[in-house]
Symmetry: C2
Subunit: 485 residues, 2 copies
């Protein structure tokens, strides 16, 4: 047992010993999240069962100045739940109960370890569902969704996690319990609910979430459109949105993805196309019928070479099955792939797709594109072989360059995966020195000793100075101290 006796003893004063793991074989399952290129066994894993136990763990660690990383299901893709060798890994796995369902206010109060899909399943009989649907929704938990402000295929129409929750219970690093948000549409005081959502475990530990529920749409139908150029498909996306139509989902796949998905799953995609769009409309039967006419006319006018509309629910699900299987399908093409996550203004889609192609050639690594086109949230998949020397590093470097391209056109370095470990350097490109300084001040207002998930999401100024020494962005030198280097 490597955890210092003092820490263990103090933790055990408030948490039963069977909920404290210290043996290496018990710690190993927690060594990484979905960004598995980075691994670190933590000092100790705590699996509290009550809010009081969470308060005890945090208070104890604060007192002993031991860093803490909170973790849900560990499906995150940016390394946000990567443990620290000298830190406690706080798992919320035992907080897995749906506490209350309120059909009149259309809300559910759940513990943070409840799986995303389990919420929709619990309220399905009431004709309701929880809208955000990250592709990991079978496994990922609502606490992690809030920490990362998770999205999904339907967030174009129904919003990100932040738009679909009403309140949370939070425990701060000093062990204080805060109620954030209310049952009302707006809150007095500062909007801590939005601040906490997507804060990647840096400000507090979520111990309860009240989510908003929506009535299931009456009808959903999807149209698949084929294009002979990627940038034409990108331009078509802008046309649909500019028309005032907000599809339930609007996804794009390029040729490599189409081929991979088709080989894997036989969804009936046109493998000769350079790109396809999948556009789902939902609502009442009349609404869907009317908009489907409009969308088809727009797609034809935008240069679609083929249109296919789902004729029944089975066909609709098949169209989506190909999209949803795109990642594993691509996984068959290459020993390894790296999934990026950047967001851009929709109108920049053609320019950015061309830019990604140019970067792909520069680095000699194939990049496939499958993404939430409607909201400009890209997921380029970089194919590489980790066993070939230098390829992992090249893939990471290429990924970073793609994110910086997103910033250059006015976008952001994350859409739904968060910054975590992965994009910490790109934070220095996204933000100016003054903005990073403000983030640190805000972090200190919740966690004065910087013990919650340190090293993630917000870079130190030194890191930015070093990283920035190689770069000038948004036409200005962002970190003037680098002049001293």
């Amino acid at each position: 047992m490597s955890a210092p006796v003092n820490l263990y003893t103090k933790l055990a004063a408030g948490v039963p010993e069977h909920l404290l793991l210290v043996e290496t074989e018990d710690l190993r399952p927690y060594e990484c999240d979905g960004l598995s290129a980075y691994r670190q066994v933590p000092l100790l894993v705590a699996l509290p069962e009550t809010i009081e136990q969470v308060q005890h763990v945090l208070r104890t660690c604060n007192e002993l100045r031991v860093p803490v990383v909170a973790r849900g299901a560990g499906t995150g893709l940016s390394g946000g739940a990567l443990p620290l060798a000298e830190g406690v890994l706080l798992s919320l796995a035992k907080f897995n109960r749906v506490l209350d369902i309120d059909p009149v206010n259309r809300t559910a109060r759940v513990q943070p370890g409840v799986r995303n899909l389990a919420i929709s399943q619990a309220v399905s009989d009431l004709g309701l569902y929880y809208a955000p649907d990250p592709s990991s929704q079978i496994a990922c938990t609502i606490g992690g969704n809030v920490a990362e402000n998770a999205g999904g295929v339907h967030c174009l129409k129904y919003g990100l996690t932040v738009h679909n929750i009403q309140s949370i219970e939070l425990v701060t690093m000093t062990g204080e319990r805060l109620t954030i948000g209310s049952q009302a549409l707006d809150s007095a005081g500062f909007d801590l609910l939005a601040l906490l959502t997507g804060s990647e475990g840096l400000l507090g530990v979520i111990v309860e979430v009240t989510v908003k529920l929506l009535p299931k749409p009456q009808v959903a139908q999807v149209v698949m459109a084929a294009f002979d150029r990627v940038d034409t498909a990108g331009a078509a996306v802008g046309r649909i949105i500019a028309e005032g139509i907000i599809p339930g989902g609007l996804e794009m796949m390029d040729q490599g993805c189409i081929q991979a998905a088709e080989d894997y799953l036989h969804a009936g995609y046109p493998t000769g196309a350079a790109a396809i769009l999948l556009c789902e409309l939902d609502g009442t039967a009349e609404e869907v019928a009317e908009q489907m006419e409009q969308v088809q006319a727009l797609l034809r006018d935008a240069g679609a070479t083929e249109l296919r509309v789902s004729r029944n629910e089975q066909e609709r699900l098949l169209f989506w099955a190909g999209r949803k299987a795109a990642f594993p399908a691509v996984g068959r093409l290459s020993p390894d792939y790296y999934c990026m996550d950047g967001t851009i203004p929709r109108k920049e889609l053609p320019r950015v797709l061309n830019g990604i192609e140019a970067l792909s050639q520069e680095f000699g690594l194939r990049v496939l594109n499958v993404f939430h086109a409607g909201d400009g949230n890209l997921h380029p998949l970089i194919l590489f072989d980790a066993n070939r020397e230098g390829q992992l590093h090249a893939a990471e470097e290429l990924g970073g360059r793609i994110l910086e391209l997103c910033v250059e056109v006015g976008g952001a370095i994350t859409g739904e995966h968060g910054v975590g470990m992965e994009k910490i350097n790109q934070m220095c490109v996204q933000f100016r020195r003054e903005e990073i300084v403000q983030f640190h001040a805000l972090k200190a207002a919740f966690d004065p000793h910087g013990l919650l998930n340190p090293g993630k999401a917000v870079p130190t100024l030194n890191r930015c100075a070093e990283y920035g020494a190689m770069r000038v962005s948004r036409g200005e030198l962002r970190f003037p101290e680098l002049e001293r280097f």
Copy 2:
């Protein structure tokens, strides 16, 4: 000239002298906002024309430890722009230009002093509009809207200000300029955009706003339903929402308001009714037609005694004219009235309306109700006569009790007017000690010397201890230090 020479000289080093007001007759117009029961002439008014000048004013005041209150059009109803005798009033009135309109991304970049309605007018030819519509929209400015997170009749369907803006430029008290938000759907780092929205001028001064625009709905139609009991009307609201229908607007007026509006404007309201609901549906023609059938059936089933559907645009506008004129109409009934602003879960409408009636009788002051029923945002109007001794105080006390009733049922002490001066005591009822402490820490992270709009929105712990000494709320003693009193 009462402003200290040192302050004036330093300000004048960066701001032309004609933009600095110090004579009492020039200061007088700034002595109050829409909460005119409170008045205070400021030490000095600055009317900067450029962002650099705003930075200079804030930097100078920070250095000299002079407090600053920022102000838009001064239409706020909670006293958020009330000046300080020893402070600078920073007016953004000269920042009144629409800088850029982007029809493809459906955004407009505007200066903070642009009026809310002027944005919609500027983009009307493109078939677009800016959705949040506070009733002061002819006069109020977008900077103030962001500072207060303004709502309006249509925010049930289209969201509050926070849901309709994309990014802001902010100047902090230390004069740093920050870009907050981006053109992408999500931002990396902490969500400062939501934190700043509704922060009531305590964290920084907004110098630019990029708003989201929406396509104008094809069709809008309103149904007016009469009820013979107020709580039956309240229950009908819950039924409509529970059905999954999100009206463009869903408003309620009680008998006193109906009568006052009808006498004033002859909108054709049924003056014998105890309450009316106005429910507007918007969207495509088919969607509106289908939902109008559904809503009428629901209203009948919920006990409506009369239903009238607008037959044309003129009739629709007439139905709304009565609602929009409710405040001036009530103003004719009583020498003074006090408009409150609390939010409750919809299902508590009947209980809270009964509670308001009981409080009205306890205080011997008439209370009329006109409000955004769909999102549970109440606007009780307390009638009083300021010239009768003790009535202003009684009205304020009654208003406070109504807000505390909102908290008791799980709601909030503000929906869209903010806390400001007005509701500062009720913050102690809404929040626990730990939460208020967290607000102060967060404030200090932006404004370490507490110079931006001090005394508003977030109460001191001492104030809460004193106020709390009279009260126990949410079943617990919130401010334990009061035991020492």
